[in-house]
Structures are given as C-alpha cells and as structure tokens.
C-alpha cells in the first residue's frame, strides 16, 4: 500500500510535468484533471482499504534520496491512512469539480502543473517519516499552493496575498525546523523513529510543542497567525480554495498531531492550557471576522479559522487528559478533533465548490451584489444549504456530531486534577458554544444574502446553473455530510485504531450498538442518534404536511410582496450582508475589532445621496503585523546609507575592524 501511495504521488508529479509539457494545448485541462482524479481516487481507495482492513499495520520504506546518510523515510500507519483519506477525498473531489469548473480558467498554464504537484506534496507530507522529508514536502506544498494563489496575479490584491502567504509559510517552516532540531538533539537524529525513541526532558518537549503550535498553527490559521489565510484562500481558483481550506489546513493539523502526540509524546500538562487558550481565541475571533465579511469566499476562509479553533480545542483537551493519565477521555477528545477534521474537510470543500459555482455563474464574490440565486441556481442552492446547515452544527448533520463529542470531552473536565484546567476547560467550552451560535448566524447570512431575497444586480438576475459535473460533486459531498451525521458510529470506529496509536486508548466500539446510536463514554452518561432524529424530523414534518393538506386546505395564491403594505420596492432596500451583521458588529465591534463607521447624512433639503461606510480591521494587523513591518522598513532605512559611503569611509570600516580584531588577539593570552 505504501509503495502504491508513493507511486501515486510520483504519478501526480509526473502529471505536473506532463502539464508543463502540454503547455497551451486545449486538451491539457481535461487530461491533467482526469489524471489527478485517477491518482487521488486510487490513493483514496487504498487508504480506505488500509483503514478498514488492518489499520494496525505499519509499513515503512526508505528511499536512498534526501539527506545524505539518512535517506528519506516513509511510513504508513493508521494516522497517515486517515489523513490520506481526508486528503484524497478532497483531492479527487477538487479534480472532478475542476473537470467542469476548470473550463472557465483563463490561465490554465499557471494552474495545471501546480495543481497536480500540490496534491502530490500534500500526500507526501502525510507519508513522510523523517524531519528532512517532512519539511521538504511541507514547504513544497506551500510553494505549489503559493503558485496557485498567484495564478491570477493581475487581479488586485492577489500578489500581496501570495507574498504574505509564502512569507508566513516559510516562517512556519522555520519554526518547525527549530522544533525538529530540538527533538533530533545534537546527534542529528532526524528520523522520526529516533525521535519517538528519544524522550526529551519536559522543558525541551514544552518548547518544541510551542514551536510546533506556531509552525503548524501558521499553516492551519491559528489566531494570530491566521492573517494570510483569508487573503490567500479566496485568491486561488475555487477548486484550489477548497483544497487549501478543506485539506491543507488539515495537513497542518496532521503535522501538529504527528509531532505532538507521536514524536514528543509527553509534553508537560500546562502546555495544554496554552493550546486551549489559542484554540478558544481562534474559534471565536475566526467566526466573528467571518461574520464581518461580505466577500463570500473570504467569509468561508475566515470560517475555516473558526473550525481550526474547534479542532485545536479537541487537541488541547487530548493533551490535558493524556498528561493526567485519563487516557479514555484523551481518546474522546482526540476522536472529536479528528472527526471534525473529516467533517470540516467535507462541508468546507462543499461550500467552496458552491462559492465557485456562484462565482463562475455570476462572476461575483461580493454578496452585496448577489441574491435570489435560489431561483436561478436551484441545485447549487440545495447543496450549499446543506453545507451551511452542516457547518452550523445543526443536527442531524455531521458538523453537530463532532461538536457534540467535543462538548462531551469538555464535560469530563472535572476529573482533571489541576485547577487551572478545571476552570479553563469550561471557559473554552463557553467560547465553543458562543462560536457555534455565531456560526449559525454567519451562515444564515451567507445563504440568505446570496441565494434568498431578490437579485441585487443584473449578474445575479441572469445567472445560469453550473455544469453537471460540479453539481454531481457538490451533491456527493452533501450526501457525505448526511451520512457522516446519521452514521457517526462507523466513522468513530474507524478512528479508533488511529486514536489508539496516539494515546493508547480508544472509544468503545459503536457500530454494534442498538439503533446505530453513539455512546462515547457510558449509556447512562450521554448518547446521540442522528438516524432516529432524522427519521423523527422527516416523518413528523411529512406527516404534518400530509395532515394539513388532507384535512385542512392546500389552496395557494400568488400575490405581490406585502411588506406591511409598502409598494414594490427596489432590491436596494433589501437587507444587505453588512446590515445583517450590524447588530453583531455593534455588540462586539467596539471590543474585538476596530470598527470604523462613517455616516454622511445630507441635511434636510439637500439632494445628494447619503453615504454610510464601515471599515472593519483585523486587530492582528494593527497590533502585531503593522508594527513588525514598520520596524523592518525602519531598520532598512537606517542601514541604507551604508550603501552610499565614500571609499575612504569604507576603508575606515575595514581599518577599524582590523584594529578591533588585532586588539582581540592582543587581549587574548
């Protein structure tokens, strides 16, 4: 299987080369996407088989490339298999979607080679088993995605997005490199096996963990390292955005899990507080920023930040429980996190596909200029609605299950010995609850403004439903969201071995239980059954409808909008995205983000139009990055005159340096 996976990755690289070779040929697009689809599907099936058939098996392989004397190690265990599934589920879906969507691509030569290479990179990261190979593939992944982000370099802001993205990415890589350096020790044991064997003392483990939190976090989008994400993800073509948001952030999570749980093993318990703090912050801020956006893709990107926060809450809890020897709770938390990884990759890809469909149908990303699409694009609307419901954690869909598991893990917190954690965990739980509610608001806004109401522009009025392939992909993912929601037991059982390999414990098997319900801890404690809920909802809704239609009336008349008797108003009077978010902005705006509202109201009798302008700033820019940039430029300005000295002054520099060194020699001994 490992050989197969590696050869598939190699095949993807070959596809990239082929894409370069094909150049301008019009056949390039279908060929490349079909090939990548095939490779990803093989990988997906293979990984699934491995995960279902014998997850316990660990296969390794060492190729005579990479670092001299080390070779590049590859390893396929349950964790890797799971993330291979996530990666290639997204990968194959993106490839398939692109078979339709990719036709609209203006500059395929800037996309095709990097797309395949990007897929290959992500798969290789998951398979890598030594520090060098890991970082190499990791940064290769960043590099190719950067190329995809700047594919449309002439659109405003994209180049900047790419710049910030790649700088942040290599910052993260350097942080990871430092972490690996710590773990490898002076001997330079870069193979993961060696790191597993070595048990770093707590201080080193803690520093390494924090470095990983920074390194992997900067790629996952943990606040305040998230600034690149809402810029870069929307900039890429939509199927790539789906990959970046749905899959690459998960690869980052994989990096964290792999290093922290597998390589470091035993970080001190207090590190979990740091992780939880950042996770909680990320969750709430992510969704709040998302609420403030009116660019559909950027909204989705910001919302990725929130979900990453949820995942990291699970991871932080897992660390806390594991270091306090409550393995079963650690297993619960980790299961929740990994389950959410899968879920988020499902509905976030779905939503980005939907956004891409809207984009290609209307050439608009700004929700303020959309509306009423449910009439023009009914199928897309259905799929998108399901995605929205899923990401808002509404039962009986999948988003709820993972959040429910996270809550269950949070409710174990009383068993933690440390008071810090005892109080920290419920607080994080409160943040999680808040973010869940806000997420619902966010997606009511996203769907309502985009698809409901009346079209606000000509583009929205004349939109056409997208091609069948794209629709097929969207509906497939919508279906998966349903299945994962009503049959969570199956997935939890698949996650069992993965979790067991990391925390030495796993949830009790679920699929055997009556009525397919899930019982993470004990029957008396908590249980959930999405299937029954779905049946209840469906049956009661239909029964009621039938009852009403049968015994009451089913007469219907179409009439103009009543609207409290106002005459038919122009769509401009509709509620807009920013007006929808206004109450939230009022509530949190003053504290969380620096909102600038500018109202220019003409005096009575004046004929000019009134203007209302809202500017929302991401405080991370104001307080962290702005100063950093200013400091850099300032230093550069300060040093710059050294380019313009006279020869004599340069000689003086040399001379003084020489004298200093001579004095050193004279002083020595």
């Amino acid at each position: 299987m490992l050989i197969l996976a590696l050869s598939c990755a190699a095949a993807l690289l070959a596809v990239a080369a082929l894409a370069v070779a094909l150049g301008r040929a019009s056949s390039a697009t279908p060929i490349v996407y079909a090939a990548s689809l095939a490779a990803s599907l093989v990988l997906l099936v293979g990984a699934l088989v491995r995960l279902v058939a014998d997850p316990g098996q660990v296969s390794t392989l060492t190729l005579p490339v990479g670092l001299p004397g080390l070779g590049s190690h590859f390893r396929l265990d349950a964790l890797a298999a799971f993330f291979l599934v996530v990666t290639n589920l997204g990968g194959s879906a993106a490839s398939l979607y692109a078979l339709g969507y990719g036709r609209h691509e203006p500059a395929p030569r800037r996309v095709l080679p990097f797309f395949a290479a990007y897929l290959a990179g992500m798969n290789l990261v998951v398979l890598a088993d030594d520090a060098f190979t890991f970082l190499l593939t990791w940064e290769f992944m960043s590099l190719t995605s950067w190329a995809l982000v700047v594919a449309h370099h002439d659109e405003p802001g994209n180049a900047r997005a790419g710049y910030i993205y790649l700088v942040m990415a290599s910052f993260g890589t350097l942080a990871l490199l430092l972490a690996f350096g710590l773990l490898a020790g002076p001997a330079g044991a870069y193979a993961f096996d060696a790191m597993r064997a070595a048990h770093p003392e707590p201080a080193v483990a803690a520093i390494a963990l924090l470095l990983v939190l920074v390194g992997a976090g900067s790629k996952a989008g943990v606040v305040p390292l998230h600034v690149w994400l809402p810029l870069a993800h929307p900039a890429a073509p939509s199927h790539v955005s789906a990959l970046m948001s749905g899959v690459m952030t998960k690869i980052a999570v994989y990096g964290f899990v792999r290093i922290v749980f597998d390589l470091i093993g035993t970080p001190p318990w207090w590190t979990s507080i740091v992780v939880l703090a950042f996770a909680g912050l990320t969750t709430v801020l992510g969704v709040l920023y998302a609420l403030m956006q009116h660019d559909l893709k950027r909204l989705l990107a910001y919302h990725t930040v929130e979900n990453i926060g949820i995942i990291y809450i699970g991871l932080g809890l897992a660390i806390a429980f594991q270091q306090n020897g409550i393995a079963w709770a650690a297993a619960l938390a980790l299961t929740a996190a990994l389950f959410h990884v899968l879920n988020h990759s499902l509905f976030k890809s779905l939503l980005f596909f939907g956004a891409g469909a809207v984009l290609s149908a209307t050439h608009e990303r700004d929700m303020e200029r959309l509306g009423g699409l449910i009439h023009r694009m009914p199928h897309t609307a259905v799929a998108f609605l399901i995605g929205c419901a899923a990401i808002s954690a509404l039962p009986p869909l999948n988003g709820f299950v993972s959040e429910w598991l996270t809550f269950q893990a949070i409710l174990v917190s009383p068993q933690l010995p440390q008071w810090g954690l005892k109080l920290m965990v419920p607080a994080v739980g409160a943040l999680l609850a808040l973010s869940a509610a806000l997420a619902a608001t966010c997606f009511v806004k996203a769907f309502g403004i985009t698809f409901l109401g009346r079209p606000r522009t000509r583009a929205a009025e004349t939109a056409q439903e997208v091609d069948r392939i794209s629709l097929a992909v969207m509906f497939a993912f919508a279906l998966l969201c349903f299945l994962a929601g009503i049959l969570p037991g199956l997935i939890i059982d698949r996650l069992g071995p993965v979790v067991h390999g990391l925390v030495g414990e796993m949830l009790p098997p679920q699929s055997g239980l009556a009525w397919l319900s899930i019982v993470p801890i004990a029957a008396g404690r908590s249980s959930y059954n999405g299937m029954i809920l779905l049946i209840f909802l469906a049956s009661s809704a239909t029964l009621t409808a039938i009852f009403v239609h049968r015994f009451a009336t089913r007469a219907t008349r179409r009439g103009p909008i009543w609207d409290c008797g106002y005459p038919q108003l122009s769509p401009t009077t509709e509620y807009t995205s920013s007006s929808f978010a206004m109450p939230i902005r009022r509530v949190f705006g003053s504290t969380v983000f620096a909102v600038r509202e500018k109202l220019d109201m003409p005096a009575p009798g004046e004929t000019r139009a009134a203007h209302f302008q809202v500017k929302v700033f991401d405080p991370a820019w104001r307080y962290a990055y702005g100063p950093l940039v200013r400091a850099t430029t300032k230093t550069a300005d300060r040093l710059n005159p050294l380019q313009f000295l006279t020869i004599r002054r340069y000689l003086t520099l040399t001379f003084s340096a020489l004298i200093v060194l001579l004095i050193v020699v004279a002083a020595w001994r």
């Binding site: 190499l136 590099l143 370099h153 700088v167 300005d637």
Partner: protein, 478 residues
C-alpha cells in the same frame, strides 16, 4: 600529453594570449567557449586521474571538486557570455576592441582562479587571488560609465588593501612555519603546513589569521569589508557578475578555509570560530536588511551574495562535522544558483533595457521562460525546497540549534528577513501587467536551466563521492 592539473592552468593563460590577438569578436567568443570547455574537461578529468602533489600544486579532497565546479561554471558562463555580448555590441555598449580585452581577461581570470585553487603554496595562492582580482577589476570598469569607473576604482582600492593585508598574513604564516619546517618552499606548502600545524607558534598563527581574515574576507565580501561587492556586481558586465558571485568569492573563501584548517589543527590557537560567527551573522543580517531598499536588480542579488557568504562563514565558524558539511554544500549550491540567477538577470536587463526593478514588470507575461528561470533561481537561493540550498540550511540550522540555540534564532531571523525582501522583489518583477519592451530575447537558456537542474537534483540527492569529500574536508576544518 600534460597532466590535467597543469592543463587547467595552461589552457586559460594560453587562451588569454590568443584571445588578446583575435580581432573578430565572434571568433573570440567561440575560442573563449572552446577554451573554457577544454579547461572544464581537464578539471573534470581530475576526478578520475590519481591525485597530484608537488611543492607547487596539490590536488586533495578539498579543491578537487572546487576545481571542477569552477571550470564548469566558467564554461557555462562563457556560453552565456557569448549570447550576452552579442547584444552588448548591437546596443553599442561595448566595442570589438574592448571585447578582445574582455575575452583575454576572462581567460586570465579563470586561469588565476584555477591557480589559486590547485596551488600547494600559500604564496602562489595569494598570487592567484591577486591576479584574478585585478582582471575582474578591469572588467568591472569596462563600460567606462562614471558609475562603472567608480565601482572599479572602489573595488580596486579596497581589493588592493585586502591583497596587502592578506600578503602580510602570508608572511606571518611563513615566519611561524619556517621555524618548524626550515626555510624555503616547504615552509609554504599546504600539506606540510597542515601536517605540522600543531607545532607552530599559536600566537603568531592567530595574528596571521586575523590579517588573512581581513584580507581574504574583503574578497569574500563579508561585512564590513563588503563595500566593493554590490557596485562591482551591478556595474560590470553580467557574466562577470556571475563569475564574481559564483567563483571568485568561493576562491577567496577557499583560501580562508585553508588557513582555518591550520588553526583547527593547532589547539593552542585563538578560537577564530567566534570571529567567523560574528562576521557571518553581521553580514547575514546587514545584507538581509539592505535587500529591502535596492532598486537595481543586479545590486539586489549582489547583496544576497553577501548574505549567503555570511551564512557560509557562520557555518564554518560554528564548526563540527554537520555545520562544516552544510557550509561546503552551501558554497557549492550558492555558486550554481547565484550564477544561474545572474544569467537570467542579464537577459532580463538586456531585453528590458534597464536594471531598475521599478521599470521591470509582468515578466511572467512578456517573457515566461526568463520569469520561470528567475523565479526558480530566487526560490532556490531563498532556501526553499526542493532545492539544494534548503538542504544545507536545514543541516546548518538544526546543527546550530544543538550547539548554540540563540545563534540559531538570529540565523533564522536573518534568513527570514532576507527571504521577505527577495520574494517581494521577485513578485514585483514577474507579476502584474508587463511594462517596458516585450520583444523576443535571444537568450541561451541552457546554462540557466542546467544550473538550476543541478541545484534541484542536489536538493533531492547528493552523489556519494561528493558526500565523502565533504565529510573528509569537514573533519579537517574542525
């Protein structure tokens, strides 16, 4: 049939004389390429014939691959130069007379560098470096613009001072050596020096090293002795910028490292590693910040050369098998990559008719191949995988971390700052709406992509013998 060791010296100098007489520039370029090709063949054949050792020349694990590398880059650069100067003649920046001069000097420089590399005698080494410097000085000034003249003058003055100081250091080394090895040539022979370094007077040896450090350090372009470097790169013909960054800096560093070996072999001496670390970090951070304010594309990459020389010096300052290995690898990778970048930059500057980055935009639209080459080069030099520079930086950072964690932080900081600047400029140049001329370019892509291909290959896999040499040398460097 003469031994390849002497061939790499004879061919260039003979070619220099011939070229000084050839008037037709096409013939000149052709002969130049042929001569460089022969030299490269000779240099490569060194890998297969058995090692030579006399009082004057020496081939060992250290210089064997450097000779090959130097002759190789000399060869590729001569190919690039052929297509480059054609354009220079058309635009009339150079006249055939000057081209004779140019080609002759080119060969002289190659010969001198080979001499410095294969010399088994610190005096001959010094002569080689001096001749190479002087010939490049004249090529830097060859455009005769005020800026070029100033660059050359600056280079010349600073270089001469460096030469002088290095010579004093050489005298000191001889002084300490002749007490042990007796008077005459043996007291200047590398291998003997290295053999008996342990018995030398440590204090005078350290003093000597300080002078050699300042002297050859000027050639390496370490801050604060770097001043000549950016202007010399910016104002001279681009092939010369390529060999300056790709080769001359390496040769000077090679000289420095030879002497570092002597000190490493003598435990009593001053711990010069600290000094090299300090100089390296200063160069790295200083150059990294200087990158942000550059407007001239060639000057930009000149500063990036300073930055990387800083990294390399830092690596050797840290010492230890891993860091030294990283340093040697970085030397090689930097030469290949930086010369490749200058190949691309040269064509870009020619087709756009300017070196001001503000006047170069949207290269990826107007000249995709050049843009790809440039982008790959910059990505490689910025230390991103899967290129060789990443390998060396990986080794360097992680090994530094285990020795001196705080220094590793400074190193990472400097690299990140530099990366930010380089990426910023790269994006400005290759993205956006193209401005300036968009005409076709008569470029020779072979050298460019050949170099990048090698760097890429090295990033994924290093040939066994190379690793072995590096390890041996790394051990000697202590």
């Amino acid at each position: 049939m003469i031994a390849p060791v002497y061939a790499v010296l004879l061919i260039p100098f003979v070619a220099a004389l011939v070229l000084a007489l050839v008037t037709n520039y096409r013939w000149g370029a052709a002969i130049n390429i042929v001569a460089c090709g022969l030299t490269f063949a000779a240099g490569a054949s060194l890998l297969f014939v058995d090692r030579v050792r006399t009082d004057v020349v020496l081939i060992d694990d250290f210089n064997i691959y450097l000779v090959t590398l130097t002759t190789f880059i000399g060869f590729t650069t001569s190919i690039f130069s052929a297509s480059y100067i054609g354009h220079e003649l058309e635009t009339g920046r150079l006249t055939p007379t000057f081209l004779r001069f140019y080609h002759a000097l080119y060969q002289a420089m190659m010969g001198a560098m080979n001499l410095a590399l294969v010399a088994n005698n610190i005096g001959v080494l010094w002569v080689g470096v001096e001749v190479a410097t002087l010939s490049t000085v004249m090529m830097v000034g060859i455009y005769r613009t005020t800026a070029a003249v100033e660059a050359a003058w600056k280079y010349f003055i600073l270089g001469s001072v460096g030469i002088a100081l290095a010579f004093f250091g050489t005298i000191l080394v001889y002084l300490v050596a002749q007490e042990v090895l007796g008077q005459g040539l043996p007291a200047m022979a590398w291998d003997l020096l290295l053999r008996d370094a342990a018995r030398f007077d440590p204090r005078l040896l350290s003093l000597a090293f300080v002078f050699l450090l300042v002297g050859y350090g000027t050639k390496v372009g370490l801050a604060p002795f770097h001043a000549w470097l950016p202007d010399a790169h910016a104002e001279g013909p681009t092939p010369i910028s390529a060999v300056l960054s790709g080769l001359l800096l390496n040769v000077a560093l090679y000289a420095l490292l030879r002497f570092k070996m002597l000190l490493a072999a003598n435990p009593e001496t001053l711990d010069v590693g600290r000094i090299m670390i300090a100089l390296g970090l200063i160069s790295l951070v200083f150059a990294a910040f200087m990158l942000y304010r550059r407007r001239d594309i060639k000057r930009l990459f000149a500063y990036s050369s300073i930055e990387h020389m800083g990294v390399i010096t830092f690596a050797f300052g840290i010492g230890g098998p891993l860091a030294n290995f990283a340093g040697l690898l970085h030397m090689t990778m930097h030469s290949l990559t930086k010369s490749a970048i200058f190949f691309a930059v040269g064509h870009v500057a020619q087709v756009k008719g300017t070196q001001r980055m503000a006047d170069i935009r949207g290269l990826s639209v107007s000249h995709p191949a050049l843009a790809v080459g440039l982008a790959l080069g910059v990505i490689a030099i910025a230390g991103l995988p899967p290129f060789g520079v990443f390998t060396s930086e990986f080794l360097l950072i992680s090994s530094t971390l285990s020795r001196q964690p705080l220094l590793a932080l400074i190193l990472v900081f400097g690299l990140l700052v530099a990366f930010g600047a380089l990426l910023l400029r790269l994006q400005q140049v290759i993205f956006g709406e193209p401005i300036g001329p968009v005409g076709r370019v008569k470029a020779s892509y072979v050298p460019l992509f050949l170099h990048i291909g090698f760097v890429l290959a090295a990033g994924l896999w290093l040939p066994e013998p190379m690793v072995r040499w590096f390890k041996i040398v790394a051990a000697q460097l202590g």
